[in-house]
Amino acid sequence: MMTEPGQPRPKSFYFLAAFFAAFLAFMYGPMLVIFILSFQGENGGMSFPMEGTSLLWFKQLLSDTGRVGDIPSALLRSLEMAVLASALTVVICVSAGLAFRRRFPGAGLLFYTAVASLVMPSLFVGFGIALGFKQLGWRTSLFTSGLGAQLTWTLPFGLMITFATIGRFDRRYEEAATDLGASAWQRFKDIILPIIMPGVVGVALFGFTLSYDEFPRSQLTVGAVNTLPLEIWAMTTAAISPVLFALGTVTTVVSFLVLTAAIAIIGLMVRRRSGGRATPA
């Protein structure tokens, strides 16, 4: 149990700290192993020991030997999709988040539909969309059915993050702005948005990474082309070689870059807010 700084820590602290450290090792250990093994020597296998080191597996990713799919195109496609999904998730979720602060007819129904979309087995959503398109005689494609399928996954998550940030927003700031004669747009642009901005970056981050990594809803809906997770899936079911680890390293590096950028932006905002001026009480 928490004790004041300066007081001795209880025994339970050391037990829980050890447990927590083990948990972190469990979370990061396998990732680290993949990272190391992706530099496996040319004669090395899928596990330790390392038979020297090489960049062979990364070269194979880029090469057009037909042994692996077209990874660079799939990566590019996934990034484009993730940017688009992230932007849409931010706009749609912030807008809906504002709506949900008031009661409106169907609010409960809409909320529980979003929750249902979150907990629904993902394969069903993809299946339903593919089936619907087929019955209507439409072709499934990346930026129609594929994008829609991914939004059913990113929007509910984004909505939860939005609730957690807008829900804690103090309405009095807004009322004060109204009393001072601000229009609805001014209220949003000058008061609400700056205050909820760190949460908005969080929503963008969720939108991006959830789309970038999405597999089960995309599988049946992206049409003739593959996103990166689909390429990984194809490689998993085919022969497994350290190329898979090289791909894992590449995609994890991309995730890390995005994550670092988001954390840096949020950190900067929070610091500027607390340092720049007195916090309104």
Partner: protein, 279 residues
């Protein structure tokens, strides 16, 4: 005004979630052969689901995974959240450690699943350790391509989905309440049992809804890490889909969908999730 702001969300969900599920429901009554599906109103697809002996096997496997993973993630998630909220003293450390826990969540699930292979394989790291420590004379075979591997991967991928909502709940517990209990002579165990646990139940419920449904909805982790030996309900549906047997796949989907909705409904009767997130 509110409706206009909520309309884009409603529209996307209607077109890409509600309508597709209606299609699945409708097609579950259709007839089919090797070439196509035909509009009809047949109950045969459902009759097949309920009379097949495999259905029971699939559901018991799915529930087995779900219950085991739920139990482990609740225990681990609770301890992690409790440590972060009540034992870490400064906000900076708390946020730093929480971010450290969350980072893997933002990386590819597919890769996280694959990353267990070099760990658990016959010539994997864990077996190297076991052999080096002479815990066993031969490499352990049950580690990879087994239920064990599947559960390890589920726990790895899903624990933060449980821990994050619990952290959210715990952070709202008034610290004065804890101090009062301690001053009144309560032990840490009593405080956890009588204050922290009851006040974290909303987080546990939300986390459980996510973990249970993600486990029950999975078909690719179980396929890869059991080496094709185990299959849950959704695995079987995926197999039917790859054979283009849409109507029976649709009927199986509807049945599982009802199960999932009832399960989540029961969980959400316990907590008001919307209030929980906003409060």
């Amino acid at each position: 005004m509110s409706w206009m702001q909520a309309a884009p969300l409603a529209l996307v969900l209607l077109v890409f979630f509600v309508a597709p599920l209606v299609f699945v429901f409708v097609v579950s009554f259709f007839d089919y052969d090797r070439l196509a599906i035909y509009p009809a109103f047949l109950l045969d697809n459902y009759a097949d689901v309920f009379t097949s002996s495999i259905t029971l096997q699939l559901y018991s496997k799915t529930f087995e995974y779900a219950v085991i993973v739920e139990a482990i993630t609740v225990a681990v998630g609770f301890l992690v959240a409790y440590f972060l909220t009540f034992h870490v003293r400064t906000t900076a450390w708390r946020i730093g450690l929480l971010v450290a826990c969350t980072i893997p969540f933002f990386t590819s699930n597919m890769i996280r699943m694959i990353s267990w292979m070099p760990f658990l394989g016959r010539e994997g790291i864990l077996n190297d350790v076991v052999l080096a420590m002479r815990l066993s004379k031969t490499p352990l075979d049950f580690l990879l391509f087994s239920d064990f591997a599947v559960i390890v991967a589920y726990v790895h991928i899903l624990t933060m989905m449980m821990a994050a909502p619990i952290v959210n709940s715990m952070s709202k517990i008034d610290k004065a309440l804890i101090s009062a209990a301690r001053d009144a002579g309560a032990s840490e165990f009593q405080i956890v049992r009588d204050i922290v646990l009851p006040l974290s139940r909303t987080g546990v419920a939300l986390g459980s809804a996510l973990v249970l449904t993600q486990t029950m909805g999975d078909y690719f982790i179980v396929h890869v890490l059991s080496g094709g030996k185990s299959a849950g309900v959704v695995s079987a549906i995926a197999t039917q889909l790859s054979a283009f047997e849409y109507p029976p796949a649709a009927a199986s989907s509807v049945v599982l969908l009802v199960v999932v909705v009832v399960l989540v409904g029961v969980i959400f009767r316990v907590v008001d999730v919307r209030k929980e997130l906003a409060g």
